[in-house]
Assembly symmetry: C2
């Protein structure tokens, strides 16, 4: 039975609905408020995509502006990152666990990342990485296999996610290729070089 999610932009072809089991690392974004969190959650999504996560579940709400921004980046810069929205967080957590997946919740209250990562990397199961905006329900701390602190200081879910994925993938985000890109940035010492791959000779 498919998970009860939907996309307001494309009700028939829910983004990512085909990925119910195969994903290896997915981000669950909690506590997103419209429009307050649009920019920060956009940064969460872009970081998740660039650093190698398979997709992101936006819990409880549907934010079509966010979806549009992320799908547009995916179209232009390629890759298979997906986003789905509106699924109640408890359901997402329950489904993930019932499929044998594990949960890492990023919180300043948790175990330091270098220590937690040893156990996390020792397990081959798919990972759901939970990132909240402001207060997160106590249930999440209980449901998580690991509560992971990217420093025990107040930081940002964006930088916490970046560090988690960096350590999880051991820096491989720097050599990641994105298939079917329309645009590719060419590294440049001073300036902007972008190749349009859809143009002849591009």
């Amino acid at each position: 039975m498919p998970v009860g999610t939907f996309s307001a932009l494309r009700p028939d072809i829910t983004v990512g609905r085909q990925h119910t089991l195969a994903e290896q690392i997915v981000v669950l974004r909690l506590g997103h408020r419209i429009p307050r969190d649009l920019r920060v959650t956009t940064h969460v999504c872009l970081t998740a995509r660039a650093f190698g996560a398979d997709g992101l579940i936006l819990a409880d709400v549907v934010d079509t502006a966010l979806e549009k921004t992320i799908l547009d980046v995916c179209k232009r810069f390629g890759g298979s990152f997906w986003i789905r929205m509106g699924e109640p967080w408890r359901q997402a957590v329950k489904d993930w666990k019932s499929k044998g997946g594990e949960i890492a919740h990023l919180t300043a209250y948790g175990i330091p990342l270098p220590e937690a990562m040893e156990a996390i990397n020792a397990s081959p199961r798919p990972k759901l990485v939970v990132v909240g905006a402001e207060k997160v329900p106590g249930e999440v701390f209980e449901a998580a296999n690991w509560n992971v602190a990217v420093t025990n200081q107040p930081i940002s879910e964006v930088s916490a996610l970046a560090m988690f994925l960096d350590r999880y993938f051991e820096g491989r985000q720097f050599s990641k290729e994105f298939e079917n890109a329309q645009l590719r940035i060419i590294p440049s010492a001073h300036g902007k070089k972008v190749v349009n791959l859809t143009e002849p000779g591009g």
Copy 2:
């Protein structure tokens, strides 16, 4: 002559004015718009602080709500991170260079971080790390000693800054101590443990 900056909250005791030469790594935030960027710039500041930067210069504008939030975190969680605001960005860049400092600008168009970091770490000079919100003037690309890409993908200045500081300090943010803290989070597998250091026996 002191740099022409000021703090709207404390006009006489400008935050960080005493640090004009000694700082080793300072973040320059460009293009901040009030109130649109309050949350993202807060994340930039908190990441800068937790990951070991000395302070942050908010270019061109004064945002008292931002300053209040950051000073409050600094008071509660300790450390000597400072923030100053309102300095024109060209002046900040010029002053930094005239004092012998170097500039790293974080941009998706730059040289990949692992490659750039070799040269950056080989130089002992103080570093100004420039992070923009959306479009950054071409002059910044020219003024920078290094344009550094934390992946050549659209990401977030928050995660870019985290990765830059992580590589610059080689992960030492995980063992950084913050002096004069009122609160300290004790790492916990499941739950929240916070010690109030201002209470007797705390």
